[in-house]
């Protein structure tokens, strides 16, 4: 046991002192925070910043909405002088006119061409069209503004037709604002809906990166020991099992250090924005437990892969299938966070390599996950982690002394049978 600790200590220190680790430690939070900050700023700018004048042609086949459209667009432009929308209005419905306007859109002379159907004022059954050129209307704000404008124009025109003043519409049309109050939250906590949405992702991201970032190191370390031939000297003092365990332990320590540091930083940032409600003691405990188990699983596999390869390139190509499975939760996070109790989410919770990540995602999205499922997931891990470690240890002990072509899958299976 002391041997394992000795190996672990060296592995930990060498990892933590390496430039890569320190860079990762410091840069990743900076990049993530910076990225979020930048993207929100940029979205804000597109939503609210100045924009060149957009010219939109509107053909109103009802023939009656024009006055309202004009009024509304002038009002909009008064309040948004930096983001003006110019409407060129007509009631000409003939085909050649329509085609000319469509061509103008094609040529980029018009941002869009809206064709309001004849019975828009009435039953509204006829189709209205918005002609754009592929990227023309990707400005979401523009699109929604114009849509709103036209709808308001139609409605206020209807008001006029019933001899009601159009201003009444604005008055009657006011929405009732609702504030979301979470009964499960403690009274002084405010549950920021944005935080509720992003928190599961942060948990997932922390776990995923925390495991991946450090585990590259285990393969590098094993391959380096093989290549520098120091492996035999080490093996003259410790057994392959002790070596592998020590490495995994040391790296787990480095991983926890990383996750801890990032976690604290994230918590600090969240506290600054008042979003800390999602971080409960239960969540944290689960996180640590799942992290450790997930880490052990992946690092055993990677240690085994490192032991049979002679270069990083070989190792990385062997690693591919594992990584593909492992990265799955990152693609599916939104669905799972939104539907933590869906059959798919539940099913995915029991695939050992991704169990920790799926479960932490679900737990962070919905604290009411039935305990039996959590227990079951731990059982699955409890069975699979030792099995994988056992298999990896066997591969490791044979692989580290082999130089030459990495073995095929069949050969690997044969190793598992011999001691």
């Amino acid at each position: 046991m002391t041997r394992i600790i000795t190996v672990a200590k060296r592995e930990y220190l060498e990892t933590v002192k390496s430039k890569v680790f320190i860079l990762n430690l410091v840069l990743t939070p900076l990049l993530v925070v910076g990225g979020i900050f930048l993207s929100t700023r940029m979205t804000q700018k597109t939503m609210e910043g100045p924009r060149p004048v957009k010219v939109i042609a509107v053909t109103d086949l009802t023939g009656q909405a024009i006055p309202e459209l004009l009024r509304l667009s002038q009002e909009y432009n008064k309040f948004n002088p930096q983001r003006e929308i110019l409407l060129t209005l007509s009631t000409e419905g003939d085909a050649s006119h329509t085609q000319e306007l469509k061509d103008k859109v094609q040529r980029g002379e018009l941002a869009a061409f809206l064709l309001i159907s004849k019975d828009a004022l009435g039953s509204g059954k006829g189709k209205s069209y918005c002609y754009v050129k592929a990227l023309g209307m990707t400005d979401m704000d523009l699109y929604s503004t114009v849509q709103r404008m036209i709808n308001d124009a139609i409605v206020t025109t209807r008001f006029r037709q019933k001899n009601l003043p159009p201003e009444l519409y604005a008055e009657l049309h006011r929405y009732v604002p609702f504030e979301q109050v979470d009964l499960g939250a403690k009274p002084q906590e405010k549950r920021d809906p944005l935080a509720m949405l992003m928190a599961p992702f942060f948990f997932l991201f922390l776990m995923f990166t925390g495991i991946i970032a450090v585990n590259q190191q285990i393969m590098t370390s094993v391959i380096e020991e093989k290549n520098s031939r120091v492996m035999e000297v080490i093996l003259s003092a410790v057994s392959p099992f002790q070596l592998m365990s020590g490495k995994i332990l040391g790296l787990a320590g480095a991983g926890l250090t990383l996750v801890f540091f990032w976690g604290v930083t994230a918590y600090g940032a969240a506290a600054y924005r008042g979003m800390t409600a999602v971080v409960t003691v239960a969540n944290l405990t689960y996180f640590v437990l799942y992290y450790i188990l997930g880490f052990l699983l992946i690092s055993s596999i990677l240690a085994a892969i490192g032991s049979v390869c002679n270069t990083m390139k070989e190792a990385q190509s062997m690693m591919m299938p594992v990584m593909i499975i492992f990265i799955l939760p990152m693609f599916m996070w939104f669905y799972i966070a939104q539907h933590p109790q869906a059959p798919l989410s539940i099913a995915l919770s029991f695939i050992p390599p991704i169990t920790p990540m799926i479960m932490i995602l679900r737990i962070a999205s919905n604290p009411e996950i039935p305990f039996i499922q959590i227990l079951a997931s731990f059982l699955v891990l409890g069975a699979s982690v030792p099995a994988v470690m056992w298999a990896s240890a066997k591969v490791f002990r044979t692989g580290i002394l082999m130089y030459g072509k990495p073995p095929s899958l069949r050969e690997l299976l044969r190793w598992l049978r011999y001691s």
């Binding site: 000795t6 060498e14 380096e224 031939r229 003092a237």
Partner: protein, 308 residues
């Protein structure tokens, strides 16, 4: 107590019998040479002793009844292919390698300082291994092997790649260890070095033992059958002598090959009085010659019978 006992150890890799029914005894406090051509099974045997690979059958006993994994702490092993952690500092490499052998921090620290002074690497203690020259790295490798003050040193082809200075350094270390009562086991195919150092040798070929015992013993089994002489006078009669098989002249020196069973002293008696004898050397066969004769040909097929 014997430092090491091999009892009918066998190891096969597929169809190849790398080590075949090998038995040997290494007494404590000796320098024991493990000799043989490439592919004889030396490295495989040493790895089995170090418990890096396991024998198929047979028994290996290190330091009496000590279980192998405990015994590892008391053995210093230097493999044939050498290497150290390139990116670690000299001091931290030695600390780590000492620690995994079970050394405690204080003793380790002292040992490191002492050894670094002995080999002249004290100024490099905090530099990375990759910054050292090849010769320095070799010296560091020796130190790494002996840092834990092992009772047994096992060295696999220790002399390969060493320049004369490091060669002498290593030999000095080996002799010093032996004089301090430790056991040194090393494998080599450089017979001259073995000749000068070994108390006992084990000669193997193709996994099987060919000879085990003291150097003198093996030398005595090969009868001295040549004499190198420098004679003054008329030496034409030499080829006629019954004790002489053949004469090869080399300027003033001549190599006289004796007839089977002939005694060199007879030749000497025959020469004295008839010619002036300026030099007369009974050629004891070198280990190199014995080795070649026993193990012979290109693929290690023996020229003589396999077991003496």
């Amino acid at each position: 107590m014997d430092a090491l006992v091999l009892d009918q150890v066998t190891k096969a890799f597929g169809a190849l019998r790398a080590v075949d029914d090998l038995s040997a005894r290494v007494p404590s406090g000796s320098i024991y040479g493990f000799l043989g051509p490439n592919g004889a099974g030396k490295t495989t045997t040493l790895r089995m002793i170090m418990n890096i690979i396991a024998p198929d059958s047979g028994r290996i006993g290190v330091l009496g009844k000590t279980p192998l994994d405990q015994a590892k702490e008391r053995i210093g092993y230097m493999p044939e292919e050498r290497g150290l952690y390139r990116k670690m500092t000299v001091r931290s490499v030695l600390s780590y390698l000492g620690a995994i052998k079970g050394m405690k921090r204080a003793a380790l620290s002292r040992a490191i300082s002492d050894w670094l002074d002995t080999v002249g690497l004290a100024d490099w203690a905090n530099r990375k291994v990759e910054e050292l020259s090849k010769g320095m790295q070799q010296k560091l490798q020796f130190v790494a092997t002996v840092i834990s003050d092992p009772e047994i040193l096992i060295l696999d082809e220790p002399f390969s790649g060493l320049d004369p200075i490091n060669l002498d350094l290593l030999k000095g270390i080996m002799l010093r260890m032996r004089d301090a009562g430790k056991t040194v086991i090393f494998s080599t195919h450089m017979m001259e070095q073995a000749e000068r150092l070994c108390d006992l040798i084990l000669l193997v070929n193709r996994g099987r033992k060919v000879f085990e015992g003291a150097l003198e013993e093996i030398q005595s089994r090969f009868v001295a059958n040549a004499v190198e002489a420098e004679l003054e006078g008329d030496t034409a009669f030499l080829s006629e002598l019954p004790v002489v098989k053949s004469v090869t002249r080399n300027g003033r020196r001549m190599e006289i090959s004796l007839a089977d069973g002939a005694d060199s002293q007879e030749l000497l008696r025959a020469l004295v009085g008839r010619v002036r004898v300026r030099a007369f050397e009974v050629k004891v066969p070198s280990l190199h010659e014995i080795f070649v004769r026993l193990v012979g040909g290109v693929d290690g097929t023996p020229a003589a019978s396999p077991v003496l």
